[in-house]
């Protein structure tokens, strides 16, 4: 990881771990997202990501549709997940307050 590069550089979803950690309590880069456009399911870490400025744009490896957009302003995180129909987040079985079955597709 060394994400300083030319404009329009392609990174991958690993680089979204930091910005997503501001919003989510678990690491979303290991979650599986389903593309609204083509139905492909991908681990978020494997998305092709463009950025980092003015924001990160994550695209589907199957059809190149935009799945995730993150823009950080001084006082907010803008998160656009409109390209996803679901996000499957694995959780440790038996964690208090979180039934293990909630790890399934939304």
């Amino acid at each position: 990881m060394n994400n300083e590069s030319a404009a329009d550089a392609a990174f991958d979803g690993n680089v979204m771990a930091g910005p997503l950690s501001e919003v989510f309590a678990v690491d979303i880069t290991t979650a599986q997202g389903r593309c609204r456009g083509c139905g492909t399911t991908s681990v978020i870490a494997t998305l092709r990501v463009y950025g980092p400025d003015p924001g990160l744009v994550g695209r589907c490896p199957g059809c190149d549709d935009v799945l995730v957009r993150i823009v950080r302003t001084p006082d907010a995180v803008w998160l656009d997940l409109a390209g996803l129909t679901s996000l499957r987040v694995a959780v440790p079985a038996g964690v208090a307050g979180v039934p293990a079955s909630s790890g399934g597709d939304a």
Binding site: M1, N2, F11, D12, N14, D27, A96
Partner: protein, 253 residues
């Protein structure tokens, strides 16, 4: 509360921490290893990265991600930074950050591109350029005498561009289950039998490294390199679910 299950605690991972430069070691003409002192660093898994944030006097901020280069060692955090021409963060870190200066770091980050010590089975590491940094963290975390053999295939422009050159030669010479294969794309040492050229499928095979040995494969480098290396691995028969990738930037080494 579910959050008590998160190692290091949620706020610990999310928080920006002050990190003070304790030491710096040049690796090549264009890369330097920074040793940062981060009080109460919660530890990390080999392969993880951190975000580094710089704030200028006028309040302008820039954030970039850098892989951690070495396993957890108390509050010491090692990052190897490759200078990117016109890159405002990497040039500052490489040229201007002095011992005692501070930056901010957030992490450890990323649970996908990681190797956990104790994870069974052989490991095939494939690096393009500075993509070797997170793989070096994995290699350095491998316990001496481990039953899991590691093989690093490392593609660089020239011998002068190799990071960790002496340490890699030393580790490969120890006869402890670590192999290092070097691939040069622009200029090779005199007498190098492979010659110069981009990564080829045969660079990824070798005695004891067939698909049947079922290695977990980690590929890191510029996007073109990673896509080509991963395609070679799949063509050789490695199942995609055992290939993990991390890519950055458009150009190849």
């Amino acid at each position: 509360m579910a959050r008590t299950a998160i190692p290091g605690g949620l706020s610990a991972r999310r928080a920006w921490r002050s990190a003070t430069l304790a030491d710096r070691r040049p690796e090549t003409a264009q890369a330097v290893t920074l040793v940062l002192d981060v009080p109460d660093w919660p530890g990390h898994v080999p392969g993880q990265h951190v975000d580094v944030r710089l704030t200028s006097e006028d309040g302008y901020r820039a954030t970039r991600s850098y892989s951690v280069a070495a396993p957890t060692d108390g509050d010491a955090l090692e990052l190897t930074v490759q200078r990117v021409p016109d890159g405002e963060v990497s040039t500052f870190l490489c040229d201007d950050l002095r011992r005692g200066d501070t930056v901010e770091v957030r992490g450890p980050l990323g649970g996908w591109f990681v190797w956990r010590p104790g994870q069974p089975g052989p490991v095939l590491l494939v690096a393009g350029g500075s993509g070797v940094v997170p793989l070096m963290s994995m290699l350095r975390a491998r316990p001496a005498g481990s039953a899991s053999p590691f093989r690093l295939v490392y593609s660089a422009r020239s011998p002068e561009d190799l990071l960790y050159r002496e340490e890699l030669a030393r580790r490969a010479a120890e006869n402890d289950g670590v192999e290092v294969g070097l691939v040069f794309t622009r200029s090779a040492p005199e007498g190098d039998r492979r010659g110069v050229g981009r990564l080829r499928p045969e660079d990824l095979t070798g005695h004891g490294w067939s698909v049947d040995d079922a290695p977990t494969c980690y590929v890191c480098g510029p996007t073109g390199f990673v896509e080509s290396a991963a395609a070679h691995l799949v063509a050789l028969g490695h199942p995609p679910e055992r290939i993990r990738t991390e890519r950055f930037g458009p150009s190849g080494p």
